[in-house]
Amino acid sequence: MTTSLTSFDMPTYTVIHPLKDVPEQKCGGEYLGKMSMTRSVRISLFVLRGYLLLMMGMLAYHVLNMAGILH
C-alpha cells in the first residue's frame, strides 16, 4: 500500500488504493473445515443452545397465551 522511495533530494511515498493494490494472501486461505471443539468452544455453544431453547420456550408461551390455550 505505501512504499517509501528515496530520491537524491527528498523521499517520495507511493500510496495505492486498496482496490488497486496487489491482493494479499489472507489468513485461512484454503478451506480449513470446522473449528476444533476446545473446552471453551463447547461451553460457549452449549450456553448458546440453552439460550436459544429458552427463547423458543418463551415464544411458544407467548403464542399459546395469545391463542387462549393457557387460560
Binding site: 517520495t12 500510496v15 494479499e24 473449528m35
Partner: protein
Amino acid sequence: MNPTLTKTPNRSGTFQVRSNWMRHLLTFLMVFGPGLIVMEADNDAGAVSTYVQAGSQYGLHLLWLLVLLLPVTYFIQEMVARLGIATGKGHAAMIYERFGPWWGRFSLMDLLIVNFLTLVTEFAAISLALSQLGISPYVAVPVSAVGLIGLVVTGSYLRWERIVIGLCLLDFTWFGMAYVSHPVWHQVVRSTVLPSFPATGIDSSYIFLVIAIVGTTIAPWQLFFQQSCVAEKRLRFADLKWARIDTLVGALFTILVAGAMMLIGDYGLRHGVKFQDPAQLATALAPIGGEFLRRGLLLMMVNAAVLGTTAISLASAWAYGEVQGWPHSLHKKVSEAPGFYAVYVLCVGAAAVIVLIPKLSLQLVILGVQVLAGLMLPSAIIFLQLLLNDHALLGERWVNRRWNNWVNWTIIVVLFALSLLLAAQVIAPRLFS
C-alpha cells in the same frame, strides 16, 4: 500542481506524495468508509424513533447511556473489521465454514428475517415522513425503492460508498436541529457525564427503554455488514489501524447524532408535546421550533431510513451470496452477480410492497424485529468472539489479546442478559408485572 501530491498517470488509484503526514492522511481517506457507514446506518428510522422517544419521555436522563455505549460499539465493530481484514471474507461465510452448515444456516435465516422486518419499518418511516410533507405513500415508497436499487446496480463499490458517505454526512443536520431546540447546555453536559435518573424513579418503562437503546445501538446486521464491506473493499493488513480510526470516528459521530436526537425529544417534553412517532413530533413542533425543525426532522427521518435500507439490504445480499457461494460483489455488473443483486432487489422491493398494504400491523412487525434481534445478537457476537480466538484460522497476530477477551466477554454477558430481558418483556409482558 500541488507540490506535495502528484498522481501517477499510468495507474489509477496510485498517488505519490512527498510528506509522511500526507501519506497517512491519503491512506486514511482511502480506507475510510465502512466504519462510518455501518455506524451511521445504525441510526436508522427505528433508532430515530427510539432516541426521540427516550428524550420525550425522560428528557436528558438517558444521555449517559450513550457515553457508555460508545466503547461497546467500538470494541464489537473493531473485532469485525479485524476479522474482515485478516480473512478477506464475510461474517456469514466464516460462521458457515468454521461452525458447520447448521449454525451457518441458522445465522443466515435469522439475519435475513430480522433484516427484512427491519426494512419494512424503514419504508414505513419513509411513508410516514413524506406523507407529512404532502407526498403520497404510493409515490414516495416506490420512488424510494427504485432509487435504493439504482444506488447499487452501477457495478461500482466506490460509487456506492461515496454516495452513502454523503448521506451519512447529511446527519450533521441533526446538530443544527438540536441547536435550534435550545437545550439547556449545562444540564446536557451534566447528564452526559453523570448518570441521572428521572424524578419518578426507575420503572419498567425506563428499563425497557434502556434495553431498547442498547438493542438499537448494537444491531446484528452491523457485524455482517462491516465484515463484508471490509472484504469488499479489499482492505490490507496494514490498513487495520486506519480501519480502527474509521470505526472510532463512526462510533463517535453516531453517538453524537443519537444525543442530538434525544435533545429534540427533550424539546418536545419541555413543551408538553405528545406524539406517536417522530413524524407527528415534527408537525407538532412546527409552531414552536419553526419550519426548519419540522422539515429537517421529516427529511432526516427519510435519510435515516434510506441509509438503514441500503446497508441492511446489502448485509443480507452479501451474507446470502457468501453462504451460497455465488459471486457477491458491488464491483460486478448485474449480469455477473445476478443472485447477489436479486437478493438486494427482492429485500428492497418486497419490503416496499408490504408497507403499501392497507392496515398493515406495524406493531406486529416491530415485535418480530425485537424478538428476532434478541435471538440473533448474542449468537452472532458469540460466533464473533470464538472466531477472534480461532488460532488455526487467524494465527497469533490477529487473535484477541487477553484484555480483549475480558472486555468482550463482559460485553457479551451484559448483552445476553439485556437481550433475554427484552425478549422476555416483549414475549411475556406479564412476567414482570
